[in-house]
């Protein structure tokens, strides 16, 4: 399972024991599986006939391994459809899991400070602010992503990019600069190209998001722009590519793929540090007539 930065930073704030307490108190059951060191986490959601099962490394019983806790957090949030930080808040808010010297304690277990902890302190807020955030509560929205509607309750600080990646597990949109300068997070919001890193997710309420994952219908093969990027070798490391392709599709549909100059101007918000620009322009020129005839 992929651990991205946010779930790791969230995990750095928790002990395995605190997480296990949380699971027990929120209707999850944990039982051993047939595989050594792997447990089955199960929860029956409201209105569901059958419980959801998630296979995870045993908790507790492992050392304070942030990436394993992060795996668990991601699985929990995927099942419960709520942001990681609300889960973290709830765990921290439990009087059994008190803050000790900036770290979180559950029973006798205290997470050792690590590089990830230090990063967490820098990226998150000072410990005292966490309660304020919990008290502020969430904002409920309905967000449609690639045709699927999601009812979400969000911390209003969360960006659309973080919600797509961390909550909905759509990791196609990339976090490059996180400040609107690189274009790697480009998605379509009601059909227009936007930077998901600078879009507060709550602004997606009642709106339609399309990400690279939803560009072509399931089983429908690659979108002509995706195929053209392959044919024209329009990438090297590939990190900027989902954003490039989402912008490139609009470059064609909005009528700007008429000349290399027009393409370069339209695509100027998408930076490629590998310098694949020549291939990107060629790919868009290739794809444009195919999209028009499709």
């Amino acid at each position: 399972m992929i651990n991205s930065g946010l779930s790791l930073r969230a995990a750095a704030r928790l002990s395995a024991a605190a997480l296990a307490n949380y699971l027990r108190s929120t209707g999850w059951t944990v039982r051993p599986s047939r595989v050594d060191g792997v447990s089955i986490f199960s929860k029956r959601l409201p209105g569901a006939d059958e419980p959801v099962h998630v296979l995870l490394p045993e908790l507790p019983g492992i050392e304070e391994e942030h990436h394993r806790i992060a795996d668990a957090l991601r699985a929990i949030q995927a099942v419960e459809a709520r942001p990681i930080w609300t889960i973290v808040d709830q765990i921290i808010g439990n009087p059994g899991n008190r803050i000790v010297s900036g770290h979180f304690k559950s029973g006798e277990v205290v997470a050792e400070p690590s590089l990830t902890d230090i990063e967490a302190e820098q990226k998150f807020e000072a410990p005292g602010e966490v309660n304020t955030r919990s008290r502020a509560g969430g904002v409920s929205i309905e967000l449609t992503v690639n045709g699927t509607s999601h009812k979400l309750t969000l911390d209003p600080r969360s960006s659309l990019l973080d919600v797509l990646r961390e909550l909905l597990a759509l990791t196609g949109a990339k976090k490059g600069c996180d400040h609107g300068q690189c274009g790697a997070c480009t998605v379509h919001l009601d059909g227009r190209g936007v930077l998901s890193c600078l879009t507060p997710a709550v602004q997606g309420d009642g709106r339609q998001v399309t990400t690279i994952e939803g560009l072509s219908p399931p089983g429908g093969g690659l979108h002509p722009v995706q195929q053209a990027f392959i044919d024209r070798d329009a990438l090297q490391c590939g990190y900027c590519t989902p954003g490039q392709i989402m912008a490139a599709v609009l470059c064609v549909t909005e009528g700007h793929a008429t000349s290399p100059e027009q393409i370069r101007e339209y695509m100027s918000g998408n930076i490629c540090r590998c310098g694949a620009y020549a291939g990107i322009v060629a790919a868009i020129q290739d794809a444009a007539p195919k999209m028009r005839s499709a």
Binding site: A136, G183, L195, T199, P200, V202, G269
Partner: protein
């Protein structure tokens, strides 16, 4: 990012009431491209955010009116830039929008929010340990003796030389635009030029708006100077970059003589900068290359360079001169 309470009112009146109730630590949120960005940097730390994106009453614009053009504060930059009437009748306004940011940002950013875009000064955005009087009053200015290649040559003070980064407001100031503002005591109208303050002794106070005043719309009086106008922007790369120097010029010729001209410059000053002295050098005189160069020099008169930006006095002067000649070409149908 600091926690905040979030409200999303449905009308402008409700938005003003909501933000007034929240108190001075509150901010209006429109496109978010400046505010949300600075909140991520903990440079902006509002305790409350009032999201105005539901105020659809403010999202329209009308470029066909006989006496004025009206732009709702929530119209998006891309929609207005693409308006064919604006492109034909007021190319400077359209070009100022089209040459700003990237297509994605222009789809997000609102016209009203763009007026209030905050400086890109790295010491302002960078936070501690850098001193910045704009971010933290009284802490000092790291830019004065720091990296100041992109900083202001006009309108600065001992306290701050951060440049106003926008383009749209520069073009608007050439056309004597007005701004309608709604506050708790009702609506008022101010000249766009009076919206902005020079940093002086209080660089943290950038505009003449109160925290609970909402920009409703921007109005531009219809003028015959619109067609022969241009927004000429010089930057480090061809696109998606802030201006090292820019000029909005609008021109009306009477034969080969200048009947009327408006000049405003961007990327060079602490606020959108109307260059009236430069306009005066041209009115009533034949428009030659030398005259354009003289106007450029007049526009930059009084410019104060810092360590790294002396070249932008000449660059700014020539940008104005080039813009004047582009406008002249347009005046003759070029």
């Amino acid at each position: 990012m600091r926690p905040f309470t979030y409200t999303k009112p449905a009308t402008a009146a409700h938005a003003v009431r909501a933000i007034t109730a929240c108190g001075p630590g509150a901010r209006f949120l429109a496109g978010g491209t400046t505010l949300y960005d600075l909140m991520k940097l903990n440079v902006e730390t509002p305790a409350s955010v009032v999201d105005v994106n539901s105020l659809t009453e403010l999202s329209d614009f009308d470029t066909s009116g006989s006496s004025e053009l009206v732009f709702g504060a929530l119209a998006r930059m891309s929609d207005v830039a693409a308006d064919p009437w604006l492109q034909a009748d007021y190319p400077a306004l359209s070009e100022s929008l089209r040459s700003a940011a990237s297509p994605q940002l222009r789809n997000m950013a609102s016209l009203g929010g763009n007026l209030l875009q905050r400086t890109r000064c790295a010491y302002f955005r960078g936070g501690e340990p850098f001193a910045c009087n704009k971010r933290k009053p009284g802490s000092g200015c790291s830019a004065r003796d720091g990296l100041n290649r992109g900083h202001a040559l006009l309108g600065g003070s001992e306290m701050c030389i951060a440049v106003y980064p926008g383009d749209w407001a520069v073009a608007l100031s050439a056309f004597d635009a007005k701004v309608d503002v709604l506050g708790p005591n009702g609506q008022r109208t101010i000249a766009l030029e009076d919206l902005y303050r020079e940093p002086g002794a209080a660089p943290n106070v950038e505009t003449t708006l109160e925290f609970n005043e909402l920009i409703l719309r921007i109005r531009v009086p219809r003028t015959t100077l619109g067609r022969a106008s241009t927004y000429h922007k010089i930057r480090d790369r061809e696109s998606f970059a802030f201006a090292l120097a820019s000029a909005a010029v609008a021109l009306q010729m009477d034969g080969h003589t200048v009947r009327d001209v408006r000049i405003a410059i961007g990327g060079l000053a602490t606020r959108p900068w109307r260059a009236r002295a430069a306009e005066q050098t041209l009115v009533g005189r034949p428009l030659t290359t030398q005259a354009a160069r003289a106007a450029g020099a007049a526009a930059l008169r009084g410019a104060k360079a810092s360590n790294d930006n002396h070249f932008r006095i000449e660059l700014g002067s020539r940008t104005v001169a080039d813009a004047v000649m582009i406008a002249k070409q347009r005046a003759f149908g070029g």
